[in-house]
């Protein structure tokens, strides 16, 4: 995009304050494109994440926006080591986690959780809600038996569901309720960092606001740190302290949420913001007139 990309990509973000919970430096994730008759040969690469750097302080929310294919979701997965990064460093509380093995990662999994986009696809339809939320408490040997049940019921209550939902199956719930189950699951192990990958984009408008408010409340109460990924800049700006804009695997602009939205510096950010519909007929008419006049 802009000619100043090389500078904007890494410099400003790497100079992170030392209190950072998460520090990502030059993270790269390339996927090979293979071809060949007998032996697969790597013919090219998809540069899904192409050297991004950012840091997130404790208790802060970093919004990650970009269009489909910009590499947001790949970035999240590479940060959590759900995908093995091609190169680069991911530090969680100062500890390097890129390249750690499964076993070494296991204790860290408690600290970092994820909320997924599609609450219809991310809950096992054959498990009861109690199991979905409680299984990891069992796996991590945090609680069992009556104690486990009590904790799960507490979590359900906390995210706005009722403890009686413990024995129900996911299909008995609406989209918004399912997303609440997903949130309860993410919070079960009392993580420090929660990565929310498009947590509201599959939900109805009136439900989106509920989930955004719930995430806000939980952050205040549990002093959570969020990386909030979405394509909807309005939602990202509402919930984030700082915003990073991604385009084609790179971060093109980072800054305080209001500043990025009101005074974008990068050409791509400007283009993105100009395309967001404004729910105000007079303003959007004025903007349209401007757009047609411009070309």
């Amino acid at each position: 995009m802009g000619s100043d990309v090389s500078g904007a990509t890494s410099t400003e973000a790497t100079t992170a304050p030392s209190g950072a919970l998460l520090e990502v430096t030059d993270l790269v994730k390339h996927f090979p494109i293979k071809s060949g008759l007998l032996f697969d040969r790597e013919v090219d690469q998809v540069r899904a994440v192409d050297g991004i750097s950012f840091s997130v302080d404790k208790g802060e929310t970093l919004g990650l926006v970009g269009e489909s294919g910009s590499g947001k979701s790949t970035a999240c997965r590479a940060v959590l080591q759900l995908l093995k990064p091609t190169s680069g460093s991911v530090k969680f509380e100062g500890q390097e986690i890129a390249g750690l093995g499964r076993r070494e990662l296991r204790p860290l999994r408690r600290e970092m959780q994820m909320i997924f986009q599609d609450p219809y696809a991310s809950l096992n339809p054959r498990k009861r809600v109690g199991q979905i939320v409680g299984d990891q408490l069992k796996i991590q040997k945090v609680a069992s038996g009556g104690e486990l049940r009590k904790r799960v019921e507490g979590l359900l209550d906390r995210v706005g569901l009722s403890p009686e939902h413990y024995n129900r199956f996911p299909h008995e719930f609406s989209g918004g309720q399912r997303q609440r189950i997903g949130i309860a699951r993410a919070l079960a192990l009392e993580p420090k960092l929660v990565i929310c990958d498009e947590p509201v984009s599959a939900l109805d408008v009136s439900i989106q606001a509920q989930i955004v408010n719930l995430l806000d409340d939980l952050q205040d109460e549990l002093r959570l740190t969020y990386v909030f990924v979405a394509h909807d800049i309005g939602v990202v700006r509402h919930i984030s302290d700082r915003i990073a804009v991604m385009n084609q695997g790179k971060i093109v602009e980072t800054g305080p949420a209001d500043q990025v939205c009101e005074h974008p510096r990068d050409a791509y950010t400007k283009k993105l913001l100009a395309a967001v519909p404004i729910a105000d007929p007079r303003e959007s008419a004025a903007r349209r007139a401007e757009r047609t006049a411009a070309g």
């Binding site: 009136s206 395309a275 729910a279």
Partner: protein
């Protein structure tokens, strides 16, 4: 497809009067769990060259309303009442073969997901040609091919003469939606029904598609029914708005009415819960509590009652869709509150929204 000769062709515009007139439309489906009344008494008129937005959440009946207009909800388990008149001609009683002549030629429809609404094994051009020739077998292949290229050019696909032979997977999402629109325009319909046409697209592409719809609306006088859940999209292109909830229209008015003088608490809630980039961010989003109702088990009285913080005794009765502002007979809503009460109640932290439910 063997087309039986039709004795009653659909007459083109007779001039005067609305293009499309929907009156008391009700659509119910028999399901194992009981009857679902998806659309429960919808009336509206569409004038030539107008963009009418139907706004609602999932289960509000907006898509079923649109599909019923061209007979897509006809099935053994559905029950359709009311009237849909196109240029004065009743559509609900037409035979399937007669309807076939309305579809495409008079009313075209495009859908949310342009990938699943195209056939992946045929080229884009072939699918457009098929649409043209299915409705007019006299058009030769070569002519249809040329028309397809012109249509693709008209919707802004660059290199149309080469792109016409590409397969849908070779198109990006926005291109596919343009191609769908081209297909819809093939027979020069007077009405385009667009069901969430930009929901699956990125914002920059969405803006282009909305511009295209508006251009077509202006240049061809194409009347458009836009189904969406996104009030931002509505503000960009619509002339008039219907807000649907639980199968009923709860408010209808001009774009200005709905955005600057909304009367129904549900509309306030929708407007309030938007995260707007052009305004300072509120500390907390004014949210609508609860969830949209199940159509199997709608609350009695006003369907929005359980979620409405302003509910009172009268709400146990179903309010009519009435003009409650004496100065504006076309701005109607379904709410028992008086106009003064509404004006007072809808202000939350200096902007329109639904106040937090008590307790």
């Amino acid at each position: 497809m063997s087309a039986t000769p039709e004795t009653a062709p659909v007459s083109p515009g007779t001039g005067g009067g609305p293009l499309l007139e929907v009156d008391g439309l009700r659509v119910g489906f028999a399901t194992e769990d009981g009857r679902v009344q998806a659309v429960d008494g919808v009336d509206f008129q569409l004038e030539p060259g107008e963009v009418l937005a139907i706004v609602g959440e999932s289960g509000s009946g907006k898509s079923v309303t649109a599909q019923t207009l061209i007979g897509l909800t006809r099935s053994p388990n559905s029950h359709i009442e009311g009237s849909v008149k196109l240029n004065g001609e009743e559509l609900t009683t037409l035979s399937e073969a007669q309807l076939q002549k309305v579809r495409g030629r008079q009313i075209a429809m495009i859908f949310q997901d342009p990938m699943t609404s195209m056939n992946p094994v045929y080229t884009v051009g072939r699918q457009i040609i098929e649409a043209i020739r299915a409705h007019d077998s006299k058009v030769g292949k070569r002519d249809a091919h040329r028309q397809a290229i012109e249509l693709l050019e008209a919707v802004g696909i660059p290199d149309a003469d080469r792109r016409v032979d590409a397969y849908p997977h070779e198109f990006s999402g926005g291109m596919r939606q343009r191609a769908m629109i081209a297909m819809g325009l093939a027979l020069e319909p007077s009405i385009l029904i667009a069901d969430e046409p930009t929901t699956a697209l990125d914002v920059t592409i969405q803006a282009q598609i909305l511009d295209l719809i508006q251009d077509l609306n202006r240049s061809r006088g194409l009347a458009t029914i836009l189904i969406t859940h996104d009030l931002g999209v509505v503000a960009e292109v619509a002339d008039r708005v219907l807000v649907m909830y639980g199968g009923k229209v709860v408010e209808r008015g001009t774009l200005t009415d709905i955005f600057y003088d909304p009367q129904h608490p549900y509309t306030w809630g929708l407007l309030g819960s938007l995260t707007r980039l052009d305004q300072p961010r509120p500390h907390r989003l004014p949210q609508i509590s609860g969830a949209p109702p199940s159509l199997l088990n709608l609350p009695s009285g006003c369907a929005f009652r359980p979620r409405c913080p302003h509910e009172f005794g009268k709400c146990k009765e179903v309010p009519g869709l009435e003009a409650r502002l004496p100065e504006d007979p076309n701005h109607r809503d379904r709410c028992w509150l008086t106009a003064e009460q509404k004006r007072r109640l809808r202000e939350v932290e200096g902007r329109i929204g639904l106040e937090e439910p008590r307790g």
